[in-house]
Amino acid sequence: MSTLAETAPPRRKGSSPAFRRALPYLLSMPALLVCVAVLVPFVTAVYYSMLRYRLNLPSMKGFIWFGNYIGFLGDSEFWNTVYVSLAYTVLTVVVELLLGLGIALLLRKQSRINNFISIMLLLPLMTAPAIAALMWKLMTNPNFGVLSYLVSLVGLSDFRWASSPTTALFTVVLVDTWVYTPFIMILLLAGLRSLPPQPFEAAALDGVPTSFVFFRITLPMLTPYIITAVLFRLLDSIQQFDIIYAMTQGGPGNRLMVFQVESYLQFFQYTNVGKSAAMLMILWAITYFLSNVFIKNWLKLRERARGHA
């Protein structure tokens, strides 16, 4: 006891017992405020999603519990939205991952030229997606677009890009790929350059084939970085709005009607607050589920890397 008393920190002058009691609460106040700031809008959205609520039909406003959600179940347009959102997400993430990984491997070695190229490749990422979409809209214009001209040289004179239901998804995936591949590339490049050199040196000494090195050494060691990059892109892609809205507003027909575009239209054009909020809650649930799956896998990999079973 006496030892403890001797090593106890000296009491600061002027700090009353009341202040000392309140200190832990005061210190946790910022975290509490952040929680409140996150939770209030979220709970509000949950509440609105359970209302029949159109701003221009105030007399119809009423609490309908899960009515909006149940309504979606039998709505083919809603399932189309789920399908398009997931298809868009899977396509963009897969294409961007493969391209990003390929480019990162090409630029792996530290050199002036590689550093310059990696900086140049980051330029699309610095373009606002909506601006990029408008730029691509001009480039794919059948009358004067440079890309339309280029594809006409290989015999595709009537290629309609985002205007045709058969090529609309391809077109917006192309734009997304152009904008966001550098994001994956730069993350994986950082990962590649931070890998320990010893395993690669050992493999080189043993004359191990390149494909074996890639699949058995590089890829497993790079997996945490890949998971991180994919998770970020997945969360972004499933919530895509700017590119699709700027290029087609969700058309032609309902071909590109993803969650964000649909909920945006429901609120800003149709003033249907209830339906818009329910749509966003479903999007949140899907995003939350996917994030969980990825984070759990990432944690497992980290444990395995540390030698735990």
Binding site: R54, G251, F268, T271
Partner: protein
């Protein structure tokens, strides 16, 4: 400024001097065009101030939300007259049309008092009015205290006054006795044909007089012109695709969007006649429309015509007007043609878009806002905009009949006035007023896109659209 010059312009505004005499005397006094502009504006302002206390809200500042448009440009060019007249200040935010309406909804739905008045289309008031976001302007118009005795509300074209008034009952006729005046018409557009006269003359073609001629003419033009496509119409996934040429032609064939029975609405897009019309419209786009039609808005339709990339457009007459001026490649080459697609119809039935001014319910200075709205929709400002700027089409009969304006237009835009005069009698909003306008009309556009891209046959598409529309009306308690 010399008294002699001021007196000269005041004499003109009081009709004691003809325009010819005014021009002679200004020339003798050595007054340049720019100085004459400002003197005329000042004289008009003084004339307006004679019978009404315009200074009642002196010192106040009102804030406007404006769409980037020649109407807004005309108002901004004349805003000093308003400031001088009232002693008030005006600030404004201007947004391009792509984002403008979302900006309005964001401001109004959040009950923000950031803006006192804003530009709106008449259709949008079917949402804003019932939501309680905008003021009924009837009490203001009828108030002897608040409204200038020379305002002359009855000078505003009756079809436009009616089209901007609704009693809020879904399916009820616009402009009924119990209707609320949700906004003040400011400028309007009718949907007619604008064609490239130079190219048509070169090919020995005449503008079409009915739907069959339009389809054939567009196809022939596309085949013979060697590059440009036949006819430009809007096609984006938006209500804005339905309201211009499409609805004007649809109406001309006697078709309606809804039937109203005992106050209940029912979709009417899947009648036999409607299906036949849709089939023609779809075929016209497939054969002679722009390749990327499904992305076409007002801007693309217009710029293609102005750039010589299309032979004609079936869209707003003022769009053709704007494309025939400025630095457009085809400026001066365009012709205007009133169009009745149905051979059995006696006259055109152009659906109209009316840019109007509405007053936010959340503004804190409504009387000051009303003073601005009166001025902006006054004869004097209308006359300034029509004569000096591109403030077409005038919503006031007195401005539309103004000799100077008509001479100016006839000189630079041959055929435009004839088109206007022939189209105006049948021009009004042909949509059924109802609160689901935006969603149901957008779905109509989406279905049209599917038909044009051959994703769905016309008959099946319209039956599906009607079923979906009826379900949505039922869910909202309207069907």
């Amino acid at each position: 400024m010399h008294d002699k010059e001021k007196d000269l312009f005041e004499a003109f505004t009081k009709k004691r001097l003809s325009r010819r005499e005014l021009m002679d005397r200004t020339a003798k006094l050595g007054i340049g065009a720019a100085a004459a502009h400002s003197l005329l504006g000042l004289a008009s302002t003084n004339a307006m101030a004679a019978d009404f206390d315009w200074k009642a809200n002196k010192g106040k500042t009102i804030r406007l939300l404006l769409n980037k448009h020649p109407y807004a440009d005309a108002m901004i060019a004349d805003i000093e007259s308003f400031k001088t007249l009232t002693g008030m200040n005006v600030t404004y935010d201007v947004f391009p049309e792509d984002v403008y309406f979302d900006k309005v909804v964001a401001a109004l739905s959040s009950k923000s008092d950031q803006y006192d008045a804003f530009m709106t289309g008449a259709y949008q008031t079917w949402t804003y009015g019932p939501a309680g976001w905008i003021e009924d302007l009837k009490p203001y118009i009828e108030s002897a205290d608040k409204t200038n005795p020379n305002y002359r509300w009855d000078d505003v074209l009756p079809g436009l006054r009616a089209s901007t008034a609704w009693n809020g009952v879904p399916g009820a006729a616009l402009g009924s006795a119990d209707a609320k005046q949700w906004c003040i018409p400011w400028g309007y557009e009718m949907n007619s044909l604008t064609y490239n006269k130079k190219m048509f003359d070169k090919l020995g073609m005449k503008p079409p007089n009915n739907m069959a001629e339009l389809m054939d003419g567009a196809a022939k033009f596309q085949k013979d012109a060697g590059g440009p496509y036949g006819v430009g119409v809007r096609g984006s996934r938006s209500w804005a695709t339905i309201h211009p040429g499409f609805l004007s032609a649809y109406t001309n064939f006697g078709q309606k969007d809804f039937t109203v029975t005992d106050g209940k609405l029912k979709a009417a897009m899947n009648t036999k006649e409607s299906k036949a019309f849709h089939a023609d419209w779809v075929k016209m786009i497939q054969d002679s429309g722009p390749k990327n039609w499904s992305t076409y808005t007002w801007y693309q339709v217009g710029t293609d015509l102005g750039a010589g990339a299309s032979g004609m457009i079936y869209d707003a007459d003022i769009l053709g007007y704007f494309m025939n001026g400025g630095d457009n490649k085809e400026a001066g080459s365009l012709g205007f043609h009133a169009f009745a697609p149905n051979p059995a119809a006696k006259a055109p039935t152009p659906n109209v878009w009316i840019w109007s001014l509405a007053m936010s319910s959340f503004g804190k200075q409504k009387d000051a806002t009303w003073a601005f709205m009166q001025w902006a929709s006054s004869v004097e400002h209308g006359m300034f905009g029509a004569r000096k700027m591109d403030f077409v089409n005038p919503v006031r009969a007195s401005v539309a009949a103004d000799g100077e304006w008509r001479t100016k237009i006839n000189k630079s835009y041959p055929g435009y006035i004839d088109q206007l005069d022939a189209s105006a009698p049948g021009a009004k909003i042909y949509f059924t007023a109802q609160p689901l306008f935006s969603d149901l009309t957008t779905e109509w556009a989406s279905t049209l896109q599917q038909m044009v891209s051959k994703e769905i046959p016309v008959d099946e598409g319209l039956d599906k659209l009607a079923a979906s529309t009826d379900q949505q009306l039922k869910d909202a308690g309207l069907g």
